[in-house]
């Protein structure tokens, strides 16, 4: 069963996913830019898979191409589920 898509749940999943991909947990915040965290396009593909596995929400390339910050990723997932 997919996890409920609440902002808190999504934030936890995104943060855990980014740490798994090599980001320092202490560097994470909603305002942090993906560029400053060295999150590249392939990391975003993986993050999309993590989100799909956890919440059943599919993120396509067009969805994420303009996303700049961690907070925007979280908001995108929540809005796609809505």
């Amino acid at each position: 069963m997919p996890t409920d898509v609440t902002t808190d749940n999504v934030e936890k999943t995104i943060y855990d996913g980014l740490v798994e991909l090599g980001t320092e947990r202490g560097d994470l915040s909603r305002e942090a830019t993906l560029e400053s965290l060295d999150v590249d396009s392939l990391d975003l593909v993986e993050l999309a898979q993590i989100v799909e596995d956890e919440f059943g929400v599919e993120l396509r390339g067009d969805d994420v191409k303009d996303v700049k910050t961690v907070g925007e990723v979280i908001d995108l997932v929540v809005s796609k589920a809505g």
Binding site: L42, V45, E46, A48, Q49, E52
Partner: protein, 244 residues
């Protein structure tokens, strides 16, 4: 199965006979649970699976047309055998005619199966391979594409496309332990070539004979192996020297 290899399976599209069936047998012998895919030849697919089972391997049979977007997605769904970590895009067809006489439908069918099917299956497999930090994609191209063959403009375009696709995807995912390669068979004894073989063709081939599905499968097996971990973006030609 090699120690440390992530849990997953191998999907060989179009593996009820020919190169696909030979590949399924070898990958099963290497310890991969294999998914035997067929479009219409259920009997052939079941025979391949039974043979693998009788030799101690694991095989499941799965119907699906790689020319159909929805069916491709279902072939790649993670199952009891795990995610697909070895993908062999083998299913293919030809609809030969001289280019002024190729109908739109003949063009589109060949592109849909040979090229778009390869893309869709690869697209569905890659996220799981990236997560596993391991993956092998082997695309069955052809020497037709890099070289000409009158009457096969649609087939040549599709297979040249597969080679270009292979190279670009390979560089996109190389840093995650995922390799993407192609094999380019020459004239091989399969159902796809039975009409065109035997027309003094052997004289044109430096090896003076056509190849067997097992000889192509052996190359696919290598590209799918742990030993080929630093081989990516390449096309291994298997043609008895025809295009040398």
């Amino acid at each position: 199965m090699s120690e440390g290899r992530p849990q997953g399976c191998a999907l060989i599209t179009g593996s009820s006979r020919g190169i696909g069936a030979a590949t399924a047998r070898l990958l099963a012998a290497d310890g991969w649970p294999v998914r035997i895919n067929y479009r219409a030849d259920e009997e052939g697919a079941r025979a391949v699976a039974e043979e693998i089972g009788s030799q101690g391997g694991k095989a499941t049979v799965i119907q699906g047309d790689v020319g159909d977007a929805g069916q491709v997605a279902s072939l790649l769904e993670p199952g009891e055998d795990g995610p697909v970590l070895v993908l062999v895009n083998n299913a293919g067809l030809r609809r030969d005619a001289l280019s002024p006489q190729i109908e739109d439908e003949q063009w589109q069918q060949v592109i849909d199966v040979n090229l778009t099917g390869t893309f869709r299956a690869t697209r569905a497999a890659l996220p799981h391979m990236l997560r596993a930090r391991f993956g092998r994609v082997v695309n069955v191209a052809s020497i037709v594409g890099p070289r000409a063959n009158a009457g096969q403009a649609n087939y040549a375009a599709s297979k040249a496309g597969v080679i270009g696709f292979t190279k670009t995807v390979a560089v996109e995912v190389a840093r995650r332990g995922v390799t993407v390669n192609a094999v380019a068979p020459g004239f091989i004894e399969t159902a796809l070539t039975e009409e065109i073989l035997g027309k003094d063709l052997e004289k044109e081939i430096p090896a003076r004979r056509v190849g067997s599905p097992d000889e192509v499968a052996a190359c696919i097996r290598f590209l799918a192996s742990d030993q080929a971990s630093y081989v990516t973006g390449t096309t291994l030609t298997v043609d008895g020297g025809l295009s040398a």
